[in-house]
């Protein structure tokens, strides 16, 4: 019986690790579904293509070549090395050791592990460079106002995790005496093995086992860390690019509730005193635009969870570049943080949201930030995984103007002019063609 203790222990931590993760993923999905409905299931071939190109193919990452190429190294490494997880799980559950080695034979197995080792080493180097860029070179976009406390630590913790996991993987191989003696696949670890040459076989075995356990436990911790971290993008980038907007970037949606009202107003046959038909649904929404996360649509909320805070948006935002308060990254981070707050509120109140006197507008995002936007779409263009901060800004402006009449005074004048004389300036519509005779 005692001999099965490690297997049982392994099964338990595996179940706990995956179970807790699944619980959080369900919470994540519930929170995203707090958003309003929007149909993004049309034009499926284009959507699959975008996902393949942007998420799987990383094609927008290389718009910034240095970080882009380093990212591809880490990304490819992450995906391929995870194939090895299959063997680790089987070994753990059944007490085998390198179960695929005899099945695949030294050539194929060695080829696979050899590639994993090279990738692990490359990932390790890339992650070190990432850390240097963040902390020594201090690339500007990692040091903006919103990148203090947790967001700053989060970025570094992820890098430490990856450094440790890659090291453990290589140490585990380097101290595996049989694996080293077989000489197939120890492409990198053969150079690490000599560091351990003073240890006895017994000790090496202990080190190998320890590294093996730390590696799998580390992976499970990292998996569960995702939900609390910007690192969620490794999963959400895929649905996020699939459901991203396909229309031209300049095209804003036309609010349907407004269309119905305007049509009524313009219809000469409409009876202004008409009562709504019996049983007719009230189509006018409770609110125009968005003042809180639940006024946004679910794609916008998924955008917020997907954001990995790289700051490419903010570093190309004309308002931010000229010292204004607006940062598209902060818009996404605020949306996510408020959504998390709403989610926790729901958890604490038995599945029902209890008014906490807060909202996304003012408590997180100020009107000053919103009014600084030029709607130039640079943030949307730069996002490597299809996030649309502009749509949130516009939705919140709609709330400010249509619900609160809280536009800056000059914009109110501009709108009054459009209403009165069909131009943003105070010129008579009758003078519109004067230019031809001037």
């Amino acid at each position: 019986m005692e001999k099965y203790v490690p297997n049982i222990f392994f099964a338990l931590i595996l179940i706990a690790g995956i179970g807790y993760f699944v619980m959080n993923v369900r919470k994540l999905i519930r929170n995203i579904k707090l958003g309003k409905d929007i149909d993004r299931t049309d034009r499926k071939p284009e959507r699959w293509k975008n996902m393949a190109k942007i998420a799987l193919g990383q094609y927008k990452m290389v718009r910034r070549p240095v970080s882009g190429i380093l990212h591809i190294v880490v990304y490819v490494g992450f995906i391929l090395i995870n194939i090895e997880m299959l063997e680790i799980v089987i070994d753990g559950l059944f007490g085998t050791h390198r179960v695929f080695q005899p099945i695949l034979g030294d050539t194929i197995y060695g080829f696979l592990i050899g590639n994993f080792e090279v990738l692990a080493a490359l990932v390790f180097v890339a992650v070190i460079i990432f850390w240097l860029r963040r902390n020594i070179q201090r690339v500007k976009r990692f040091w903006s106002k919103e990148m203090t406390s947790w967001p700053k630590n989060d970025g570094n913790i992820i890098l430490y995790f990856e450094m440790v996991l890659m090291s453990l993987f290589l140490i585990m191989n380097a101290t595996d005496v049989n694996f080293q003696e077989a000489g197939a696949g120890n492409v990198v670890s053969q150079f690490i093995a000599p560091w351990f040459s003073s240890f006895s076989h017994e000790e090496l075995h202990t080190i190998e086992k320890t590294a093996w356990w730390l590696h799998i436990v580390g992976i499970l911790i990292f998996l569960n860390y995702l939900y609390y971290s910007k690192h969620l993008h490794i999963l959400l980038a895929f649905p996020n690019t699939f459901f991203a907007k396909l229309d031209p970037k300049g095209q804003l949606d036309n609010l349907e509730a407004v269309t119905n009202e305007v049509k009524m107003m313009m219809d000469p046959d409409a009876d202004p005193y008409a009562m709504p038909e019996e049983g007719a649904e009230d189509e006018v929404p409770a609110k125009f635009g968005a003042s809180d996360v639940t006024d946004l649509n679910w794609v916008q909320l998924m955008n917020a969870y997907t954001c990995t805070e790289c700051g490419r948006c903010t570093s190309s935002c004309p308002a931010n570049l000229t010292g204004k308060e607006l940062s598209p990254r902060k818009i996404m981070m605020d949306t996510r943080d408020r959504l998390e707050e709403v989610g926790k509120n729901i958890d604490a109140n038995g599945g029902e949201f209890k008014d906490d006197g807060k909202q996304l507008l003012n408590d997180y995002i100020s009107p000053e930030e919103l009014w600084a936007c030029t709607s130039c779409n640079a943030c949307v263009q730069e996002c490597p995984i299809g996030i649309d901060p502009l749509s949130i800004i516009m939705e919140m402006r709609r709330y400010l103007v249509m619900e609160e009449s809280a536009a800056p005074q000059e914009l109110n004048m501009m709108m009054t002019n459009i209403e009165n004389n069909g131009a943003p300036w105070q010129y008579s519509q009758m003078d519109r063609l004067n230019w031809k005779d001037e």
Binding site: Q251, Q381, R398, M414, L433
Partner: protein, 259 residues
């Protein structure tokens, strides 16, 4: 200038091949009116049978929409669509990328479906159809840089057409460091044109003008009346108005062709 309105045309029982949507800036702003006139001269030279709405044209509602006033936008849009549809307009050309974007992308959902061209696209089509040619001697060798209007570039992926026209002028074109999809906004979009900027270190148009001046141009070309205003102000702010002019591509073509 001889410009027919749709009402004139209709009275004569005629349908022009294209409607020229002049836009508010092109109608009222003194600087933008020059762009309007330059484009009319080009249309005349190519023998294009066009008309304008004149006093029946009203704001597209773009600025209102981007300021958050969806009601006002849709009121404007539906009023304009009623007029356009009543005249059975099929094709529209405009010198304003904001009108271009709104009519092309946002009017169809409200019942206004037209073939919409930015004037650079329309001029390019006239050249392709053999109706217009550009004299490449008058501006030969001038140092030009091109500023991408956001609502033409990123918003609608029109990057190459304006550049092809500039290259036909025989000028020496130099790109700014931020160009095409990475171009910096002039600072006017999203209704910023009509308000003071928020507090910051500098104005966006100044930063963008610095981008342009780095290429040591004689001419900053663009394709938007609002960009034109912002860049002109930027050049003045940088005290370079004696050395650098901001011109619309239509003006450059009119100049090249001695119109």
């Amino acid at each position: 200038m001889n410009v027919s309105t749709m009402a004139d045309m209709m009275a004569q029982g005629k349908q022009p091949e294209v409607l020229f949507w002049v836009g508010a800036a092109g109608s009222y702003d003194d600087r933008a009116k020059k762009i309007t006139k330059a484009f009319v001269k080009i249309l005349d030279m190519a023998g294009v049978d066009f008309a304008v709405l004149g006093t029946e044209e009203s704001s597209t509602g773009d600025a209102a929409k981007r300021a958050g006033n969806e009601f006002l936008f849709q009121m404007q849009a539906m009023t304009n669509i009623e007029v356009l549809n009543a005249y059975e307009v099929k094709t529209i050309v405009t010198c304003d990328p904001h009108s271009f974007n709104t009519i092309k992308n946002e009017y169809p959902g409200l019942g206004g479906k037209y073939k919409v061209y930015h004037h650079t696209q329309y001029i390019s089509k006239l050249i392709q159809d053999g109706r217009l040619s550009i004299d490449d001697t008058n501006l030969k060798g001038k140092r030009v840089t091109y500023h991408d209007p956001c609502y033409l570039g990123r918003a609608n992926d029109v990057y190459e057409t304006p550049r092809q026209l500039i290259n036909r002028l025989g000028v020496k074109m130099t790109e700014m460091k931020r160009n095409k999809s990475t171009a910096l906004c002039c600072g006017a979009g999203g209704a910023q044109m009509f308000k003071e900027p928020e507090k910051g270190d500098m104005d966006i148009n100044v930063l963008r003008t610095e981008d342009a001046l780095e290429t040591n141009p004689q001419i900053i070309a663009t394709g938007c009346p609002y960009c034109n205003t912002m860049m002109t102000d930027g050049v003045k702010f940088k005290l370079k108005e004696d050395q650098v002019v901001v011109k619309d591509i239509a003006e450059l073509i009119a100049e090249a062709n001695n119109l």
